[in-house]
Symmetry: C2
Subunit: 465 residues, 2 copies
């Protein structure tokens, strides 16, 4: 596809639509907009447009379509696979100022928001009203539009599921500029193909989300975490399927090793409640009564102690909660700070395969002589595995990451896992997905992309391209 280069007339048009103060071009644009947090790819947009309404998005999209100019939507830029990088330049639509919470509907248990509202703002707002938005990705400064576009998961998926499960309705601007309303406040929907579910997780390649209707739950009244140390990694991680099998339903089951905890302590300059053991499980339980939550967690605490846990720390004071969860939230940043560069694998495997997968990464560490720390959502099989550059040359690192990735994705495929649990495919993980899915599956995705975007102007080169 030959794209047209942005010219002065295009910029003139865009300025008319959104106002002169909301358009930056060329060197006025900060370098921040050329990359995300970890995509390994960067490219500057030619023009950056801050939008404030669906109408603006629609007019600009229509203009891009008619003039065959590439266009990319961006939220907070917290992605990890390069999905929002404008690799062909063109127009970048910045949605962070479309950040109004439009309506809390207590009779339908829905929250209607613009796409630029941050995850942390949603959490704060609904909790003040005694409601609960369960998806809980670690990166709280992500926008809800970005979360929907990657079908973000997070820590509470064990009990509550992922972003997809909490999107009742969407308003989307298509690459032609046309607007679709998908779903709504309704609880059930068997009215034609699941187009809403196709937009969710499509990483900004099929349309730009301009409004979302989210499903809320009543806020659970009690929540308690358990921090459970084990003498070694095997014992910790092999507990997970036993916990699931016990039919207790924790909200979250995270695992972490001492290395990661020490890195987080150093990064934050704060102490973790305990760092004397090699491996830990961190579990959360929530519910409406103290008695109910206690009954749930006692079952699991006793089970862990029977199976060789060294102790069970109950994390119930505000201070302890803050210490544990701030460390958990800082793992990625702490690992980044501990080395010169990192690359990440966000594989998801059936949850009884987590131990086997992590052990395999330990073998890879030895085989390739590279540091591969990991942590993750043991309760839902979604692992975050990092390859650290440390003292490697660029060349060595590129070679090693490639080889290690190939090994890891091959292993995941053997286990009937998938390439991405929650970070998406974007630019960085396409080849691994292509390899796993095979020709026909990829053909279907490519053709669907064409149905939405016949001129391939919207976020080209991503996901299935």
């Amino acid at each position: 596809m030959e794209y047209n280069k942005i010219n002065d007339k295009d910029i003139e048009f865009i300025k008319e639509v959104v106002g002169i103060d909301n358009v930056l071009a060329g060197e006025e644009i900060s370098e921040d907009y050329s990359h995300d947090e970890l995509g390994g790819i960067s490219h500057m947009p030619d023009v950056l447009v801050k939008v404030h309404s669906q109408e603006e998005v629609s007019k600009i999209m229509k203009h891009a379509y008619e003039n065959t100019i590439p266009i990319v939507a961006r939220g907070s830029g917290t992605g990890l696979v390069g999905a929002s990088v404008p690799i062909h330049g063109g127009i970048m639509i910045d949605l962070t100022e479309m950040n109004n919470i439009l309506e809390l509907d207590e009779e339908n248990l829905t929250l209607t928001v613009e796409p630029g509202v941050l995850l942390m703002e949603i959490g704060k707002f609904v909790e003040e009203h005694d409601f609960f938005y369960p998806p809980d990705p670690g990166e709280k400064s992500a926008t809800i539009g970005g979360n929907i576009s990657t079908n973000a998961g997070g820590m509470r998926a064990v009990k509550y599921g992922v972003t997809r499960d909490y999107v009742r309705g969407l308003e989307v601007v298509l690459p032609t500029g046309e607007i679709l309303e998908l779903g709504g406040k309704v609880v059930k929907n068997s009215s034609g193909y699941g187009i809403k579910d196709l937009i969710i997780g499509s990483e900004g390649t099929l349309g730009i989300i301009t409004k979302a209707i989210l499903k809320l739950l009543p806020l659970p009244k009690k929540s308690i975490s358990l921090l459970i140390p084990f003498s070694n990694f095997d014992k910790a991680i092999e507990m997970v399927p036993k916990i699931i099998k016990s039919k207790a339903i924790p909200t979250a089951i995270e695992f972490m090793t001492r290395d990661t905890i020490l890195a987080a302590e150093e990064f934050l300059g704060k102490k973790f409640p305990d760092n004397s053991s090699d491996a830990y499980l961190l579990l959360t339980f929530d519910g409406n009564t103290q008695a109910q939550v206690e009954a749930d967690y006692e079952t699991v605490a006793n089970l862990c102690l029977e199976e060789g846990a060294l102790d069970v720390f109950i994390v119930d004071t505000d201070e302890r909660k803050e210490s544990v969860w701030s460390a958990r939230g800082a793992f990625l940043e702490a690992i980044k700070a501990s080395t010169t560069d990192i690359d990440e694998c966000d594989v998801v495997v059936p949850r009884n395969k987590v131990a086997e997968f992590i052990k395999y990464t330990y073998e890879l560490e030895k085989e390739f002589e590279v540091r591969i720390p990991s942590f993750g959502h043991a309760g839902d099989g979604n692992l975050h595995v990092y390859i650290c550059k440390d003292n490697l040359s660029d060349e060595e690192w590129e070679k090693k990451t490639k080889e290690v990735f190939q090994c890891m994705y091959r292993k995941s495929e053997e286990m009937h896992g998938l390439v991405s649990g929650e970070h998406g495919i974007g630019y960085a993980k396409r080849e691994f997905m292509f390899h796993q899915y095979g020709e026909e599956y990829v053909r279907i995705m490519k053709e669907i992309k064409k149905v939405f975007d016949p001129k391939n102007i919207l976020n080209p080169g991503k996901v299935c391209q």
Copy 2:
């Protein structure tokens, strides 16, 4: 599209694939296969094929594709919108004998099944193992393949969601005969477009489901229902948003009127616990302890009594449960038995609009002089509204149903409702969906259908066609 007529060579080929005993042709086929429970449309297939494996489905599909023969999948035939009717004749694939439960995986909380397993068999099997498959459509003799194809909802959607929320993985035979594996046992998935979610609810038009991996929950240990009589319909139905707003989470909230109860009593020859009031809410609560369930239902019981409920009957004995739920399960059959013919509207509206919608059907009853009983899932906004033929002539009835449907779907649209909450679009509801969705939305669905089925052989004339 010009289809080829089945010939002797085709039948020969099919017999080679599945064995001679599994093929019926022409007049050997029972008339039952020409229609579903309520589609208002019927057409005989030319050949009926009982399949027993994915390979058989794939071979027959490939043959149909190469020879441009229409092909339709059928489960138990319990649909209500004509989705499984072979309106162009051709091959009917009967999946009811692909009915093996393949695996219960207690470590991943999944159940792997063939598509012909009945909903009642799944319920029985998992409960024997102390697990729970939450979707609970009234029609328990439906196949799971049919349930996935319509994204069936049912009574427990208030708390637990619908079929879509419990499908972790699918194996699907495409119209070309190629096989796709979608999802798996994994809990999270951000690996490319949501093709699995596109298949769910596509009513057998994009592929034939040959295997499903279902998500299970631990079986709640306690369950109690409340039957709450009100002096009139308004009072009953206006309670529903108040209950939702109270932040109690019932498993189900059903509403019913005396007329429907009397019809069910007559149909079953069994007494309902109470029939002295005009309108009732039937609520269920479940949980793991008696104390927890009691705390939940007492909040709601007291709220209802404060707001004018006449009484609260606790349905906790096996006998009472059987009496209440067998009546609830028989409503559709009872209404059918009370008249000469019926047609149905399965609209879904935001749940605080249920009262307004039902009141509107009462107005339509008067305006059009036709009986319009209704019952439904008040807690999730999904209503089942029936137009009864009674003594009307065919002509009058056709005219009236058309007009009444137009009024009802227009009203639902005004309320931001949708055409179908759980029964699907199939053949019968296409025009109403087209009207609501508009050109671009329908174009996208049509084009997606082409991506999967370029020769339009699989269940043509349904959903978006």
